[in-house]
Symmetry: C2
Subunit: 430 residues, 2 copies
Amino acid sequence: MALIVQKYGGSSVSDAESIKRVAKRIAESRRAGNDVVVVVSAMGDTTDELIDLARQITPLPPSREMDILLTAGERISMSLLAMAINSLGVTAKSFTGQQAGVITDAVHGKARIVDVVPSRIRETIEKGSVAIVAGFQGVTRTTNDVTTLGRGGSDTTAVALAAGLGADVCEIYTDVDGVFTADPRIVPNAKKIDRITYEEMLEMAASGAKVLVLRCVEYARRYDVPIHVRSSFSGKSGTLVTNIPLAVEAGPSEVEVAMEAPIISGVAHDRSEAKITVVGVPDVPGTAARTFEVVAGAGANIDMIVQNVSAASTGLTDISFTLPEGDGQLAMTALNAVQGEIGFGSLQYDDQIGKVSLIGAGMKSHPGVSAKLFGALRDAGINIEMITTSEIRISVVTREDSLDDAVRAVHSAFGLDGDGEAVVYGGTGR
Amino acid sequence: MALIVQKYGGSSVSDAESIKRVAKRIAESRRAGNDVVVVVSAMGDTTDELIDLARQITPLPPSREMDILLTAGERISMSLLAMAINSLGVTAKSFTGQQAGVITDAVHGKARIVDVVPSRIRETIEKGSVAIVAGFQGVTRTTNDVTTLGRGGSDTTAVALAAGLGADVCEIYTDVDGVFTADPRIVPNAKKIDRITYEEMLEMAASGAKVLVLRCVEYARRYDVPIHVRSSFSGKSGTLVTNIPLAVEAGPSEVEVAMEAPIISGVAHDRSEAKITVVGVPDVPGTAARTFEVVAGAGANIDMIVQNVSAASTGLTDISFTLPEGDGQLAMTALNAVQGEIGFGSLQYDDQIGKVSLIGAGMKSHPGVSAKLFGALRDAGINIEMITTSEIRISVVTREDSLDDAVRAVHSAFGLDGDGEAVVYGGTGR
């Protein structure tokens, strides 16, 4: 008998039929003798519809009111799900983020969880009932105001509750079978990853894999909560995210192999970044630092950085960096304002870039990996614009329109292609 | 400068445009220097849509979960309304029933307010902001569970808050201009009533007038909260419900007239009752009492009662009573179960009845009133099946299909017909 936290996204509870299907799965978990806590997102497009309603009222709604509005979505899905479970003869009670003890800071719209006090949830499961908790929301400690956690908030709620309750596993149900070696929409024969470490999953998430958001994996790593990413549409086992590398749990002969060769987890990609190039920067100490200080001060998140070798004749260099497209306007404005101070020539903005990342353990110690990666891209006729590497990741920037080809070329070069087609079930949840 | 509680029903906030219109009215009240607290219902058909969703899940949802589901409706309307008011440059904050301090008993689906602790509301208006409060909902004191107040719950929330805050007036905005001398859909030239006492309003509500529900008027009378029923679609003054009879505030000559003649407030009607006749009851002491004990024990609300004169030859009598149609099945089942004990012959159930009521002060002391009423019905060819009277009301039961004619005949006989047509604006709110 285990204590399991399950999280179902919006696409898993998009209508009455889906809710009944999910309820059946929860009731089975409970009947198998497990203690079950369920975190649920708003039904299907509810959140988008509520945002649209707010836009009809005003283009700039106060964030406190926006949070109250949006949390109506989970209120609907959680009560319906509790009804559906009860109708199967298993008792279930639903709880708002507040009732579940999810305490956050007061940053409406993207609050961070500061504490989890799940006493009512604990009482509920001790009585043998299933506890349904609204994802994506919490409450401020002092003013008792409702907050939302922003993107990936429901996954984070689930992991935070699992940590607070000391759960054995946090099951994240989604519309795909798990984490894949690449996006199956781009690489149809991508394989499901059975096990992956928090660190690799962090790199996958940071590099554009959409299944789990970064903050949720960070939270799970900090509190060592095993995450099981799996499909709500099938009974198959999915991807287990833990702190244990694959090699350690493998049999003796496999360990040997694993410790020799780098373990490639998968290929991630990201279309959401833009590139800014600062042209003609005086190549003197401190200018690069000042440039990034200005960008960071504007609230923009810098990802990759490339500084070209200075042309000896001019003493000028170019600095390129990538950042989320949404931060582009901010960064450009901030940099324009200090053109005189820094003394650069001009700014170039380019949002037609894509990033492909190879993730796996032991890359730095295997120089052959990057050589193979660059070779595969060259053979596919794809130009590399920027490169960064970490202990477990190599990322390259390409033109956006050759990104899909790049993902397929890398995936194939590293022998990740499977035999069959990956099964994908539709849209993505919150 | 006054403290005003305003309540807007679902039809006043049915879409973004209506919400903006209501926001403008609220902002005007605030700008005129008033402290404004607003109670709002769910948008248009939201509640019905949520009930429908629950029915798709299960025919018998747990009442606790049903309450959580339904309160999502007010969450949406209250936050949108707060956004709309803020966009007009007037600060506004929305509050759930819990945040507003509306404490109820734990009877989910039809909870009663047991206390109102509006400290956050008071703080908000003291800071010069408008406070928007979700109608129809509260929270239990001990378990912190969400409850709904049942039919007319938003009106009752408004009156309870007005009482708790010591407001100068509670304005109930609806889609008609106020309380009319009869339903304008039946009597097109019915007149708006300018002033009416709590007692008369209670009789109007109990007799089927839909504008205010009984419990809301009862609450207002107990705490002496003046209610102003008015239209959210026009700027006109509506109907003021207070403890002050019309005559007292009228000028000297009018007082004289008023104190001589009975003051007729209006004609109410009700189609929602059914009649049960217990045929052949032994005419011995205690049988009638036992009959009504059984019906009450089944949870049915008895309204009117008629016991026929016993036929001397048989020693048997018939007892008829009316009750809400919804309670009919309960009462019939309960009575059938005691047929042997009570020893009656049979039961008759009739839901094709209508009730017309004449409401006004000083009826008992003016026997001419009932004579005029019966005469008007006779002249219109309408048969009277049952009669009850109180100090300020006479009600008669007729066939349902002659109810409209009965209302018009009585309205006209008592000189209530106005010159023009009453203005009505569409459906009714919650």
